[in-house]
């Protein structure tokens, strides 16, 4: 596989080491992890539990700073940034979809989707308008003023997708987005992520070990023991029993 031209690279890590604790309890989560994702693609990170998927995702998202190595996201080096700079970077460029939805239960569906806009300093009215439009796109028209807990799991994850995309981030990060959902709902959610998030300028990284959704990926990076083992374009090439 040839290295893509620099302007198409969205995410690149080189020689990233990440360990937790020290001495007896030291755990190495990433060992010289080299990872690359391109603009316009949906790439999946797969691998057995504990192989470092979430850790790598956190490093790319700028919520974890690795001990060694370089991290570059949309031309911006994240290693060496201060906490404040990382926060500002996430605010501007990142959208998150979490495994456990992480919707704020005491806020309405609409208010949950407004959060990224308000954090960016948008006015209340602008945030309402954009969030309403986004909720219509994920098919939740009419549920805007209800509480998230009144929705089904699939609907809640759709709220989360709306929240992750409402501020049009360059990088969308999804950690196990379907693991709390049944097969059909999971497929619907992935279809929605694909339809709504793919754009030539955006990169989507999805961590999963749910092989039923592999088919939604452009490429799949397989992880093992804290490093990328190989990258494939066809899910059929993966040894799914291994996952």
């Amino acid at each position: 596989m040839s290295t893509p031209p620099a302007q198409t690279v969205a995410v690149r890590t080189r020689g990233v080491d990440m360990f937790f604790g020290d001495g007896e309890t030291k755990v190495t989560a990433l060992k010289q992890a080299d990872f690359e994702a391109n603009r316009g693609e949906l790439i999946m990170l797969v691998g057995p539990s504990g192989c470092g998927k979430t850790t790598l995702l956190s490093v790319i998202a700028g919520t974890l700073t690795p001990q060694t190595g370089t991290v570059e996201v949309f031309g911006q080096r994240l290693d060496g940034l201060s906490q404040e700079e990382l926060t500002a970077f996430r605010r501007k460029h990142l959208g998150f979809v979490f495994q456990s939805f992480n919707l704020i239960p005491t806020l309405s569906v609409l208010e949950n989707v407004m959060v990224p806009l308000l954090i960016q300093g948008a006015s209340h009215d602008v945030a309402v308008t954009k969030a309403l439009a986004m909720l219509a796109k994920v098919g939740l028209k009419g549920r805007e003023y209800g509480q998230p807990n009144a929705l089904s799991g699939g609907q809640q994850q759709r709220v989360a997708i709306a929240r992750a995309l409402v501020h049009e981030p360059s990088l969308l990060i999804c950690d196990e987005p379907t693991s709390a959902l049944d097969k059909d709902t999971g497929a619907q959610i992935m279809q929605m992520v694909r339809d709504l998030s793919r754009s030539p300028e955006r990169c989507v990284v999805v961590v999963t070990h749910d092989h039923r959704i592999f088919r939604f990926a452009d490429r799949i990076a397989e992880m093992e023991d804290g490093r990328i083992r190989r990258v494939v374009e066809d899910a059929g090439l993966l040894d799914t029993n291994h996952l």
Binding site: T54, L57, S58, A61, T63, L64, E84, T87, A88, F89, R90, R91, K92, L94, F96, F98, Q99, S100, N102, I104, P105, T106, L107, S108, E111, M114, V115, P116, L118, I119, Q120, H124, Q147, D175
Partner: protein, 396 residues
């Protein structure tokens, strides 16, 4: 974002109710306990309220209003001749034993007032006429005292009932008859006993011809004369001690009889200590309860604040969100708590027991404490959120 912070707070009615209950309960406890404490302490200067005179003059050794060190009757003339004095009337106070019709003895506070001017007479009589005190062997008893000195009998249902003294009833003080010609309404005193008013001259008989009966002199300044300045002149001219009758105990005026009485009891008795422990306990429980409720509220929301932080909210925004939530809850809880304290206080004032005075200082101090607790809880929350790794949002 602050509107959302408030909606986060108000979104969960059950938790909000818990939080407000905790805060209101502690505000109630703090305001209530201190108000009752100061209510009881204010009983120490009851004479200043009941007697109502612009200036009090006493022996120089007297330190507070319940202290009587009798002066010579001739001192009255010396005070009357001080420049600026409109008039000066004698006042006698003493603790005596009253022998009731059934043979029981009761401790009373006898107050002898000037029969010419009735200076120092009770403001309100619920029965009888003050002028009747000029008749021989007559007294006026206060309502609470009439109850205390009343006759205990068995009612129709076998329960004990007290029949309070009324106009026409008699008792004896030092074998001299005292006939009740009036019942008055006055504030209760710390010493608790009944007030028995009679004329100044008659107190000589009731006290078996004590040589000195002049406990205090009540002085009215001439129009336009400043009481505080007149006090200074009386002291300079006579060597006696002169007091003003303002009841602001939080002042620096060392001429105020009420203030000096209050703080004399504060310093010289165990009362502030014994009641003070109850107050301190109330404060402590209040702080603990509201701090704890707030803290658990913050803990429950920690996960969501971590998510907001991961999404790129700076600590400044999160800190302000937590402060908005904390102060809103604090103010609401304070309002509820102090409102309840006032309502209970009103009900207690109606019953007259225990006394209740919510000084503005108590109000503001409670507000400051509740907001202080809110602030501390918010700061703890802010520290917690700042410590929590944004990366934790990816973990279960």
């Amino acid at each position: 974002m602050y509107r959302l912070a408030l909606n986060m707070l108000f979104g969960d009615r059950a938790k909000l109710a818990m939080l407000l209950c905790g805060l209101a309960f502690s505000a109630l406890l703090m305001a209530q306990q201190t108000s009752v404490f100061f209510g009881i302490m204010s009983w120490t200067y009851t004479p200043v309220y009941n007697i109502r005179a612009p200036i009090w003059v006493s022996d120089p050794m007297v330190e507070q209003a319940n202290d009587a060190k009798p002066m010579r009757d001739t001192d009255l003339y010396r005070v009357r001749s001080v420049d600026g004095v409109a008039w000066a009337a004698p006042l006698h106070t003493s603790f005596l034993q009253a022998r009731m019709q059934d043979g029981n003895f009761k401790l009373i506070t006898m107050v002898g007032i000037d029969a010419d001017t009735f200076a120092g007479a009770p403001a309100v009589l619920s029965q009888g006429l003050i002028e009747d005190l000029r008749l021989p062997n007559t007294v006026i008893v206060d309502e609470w005292g009439a109850q205390l000195m009343g006759r205990v009998t068995k009612g129709a249902d076998g329960k004990e009932v007290v029949i309070p003294l009324k106009v026409g009833d008699t008792f004896e003080v030092n074998d001299l008859e005292a006939r009740i010609v009036g019942i008055c309404k006055v504030r209760r005193a710390f010493t608790g006993g009944p007030f028995v008013y009679t004329t100044y001259d008659r107190t000589k008989q009731y006290t078996l011809g004590a040589r000195r009966t002049l406990s205090f002199m009540l002085v009215e300044p001439q129009p336009g004369v400043d009481p505080a300045k007149l006090c200074a002149r009386i002291e300079a001219d006579t060597g006696l001690k002169a007091w003003t009758s303002d009841t602001v105990i939080w002042s620096w005026s060392d001429r105020s009889l009420a203030r000096n009485t209050f703080w004399w009891f504060w310093k010289n008795t165990g009362i502030p200590f014994s009641f003070g422990t109850a107050v301190a306990l109330g404060l402590f429980v209040g702080i603990a309860v509201s701090g704890q409720t707030f803290y658990s509220f913050v803990l429950e929301n920690l996960k969501y604040f971590a998510a907001i932080k991961a999404m790129g909210a700076g600590m400044g925004v999160i800190a302000r969100m937590l402060l908005v939530q904390a102060f809103t809850a604090g103010l609401l809880g304070f309002g509820l708590g102090v409102g309840m304290a006032q309502a209970i206080g009103r009900a207690m004032i109606e019953k007259g027991m225990p006394p209740f005075i919510m000084f503005p200082q108590i109000f503001w101090a409670t507000l400051a404490l509740v907001l202080g607790i809110s602030l501390v809880s918010a700061i703890i929350g802010i520290i917690k959120v700042s410590r929590v790794d944004a990366a934790t949002v990816f973990r279960g």
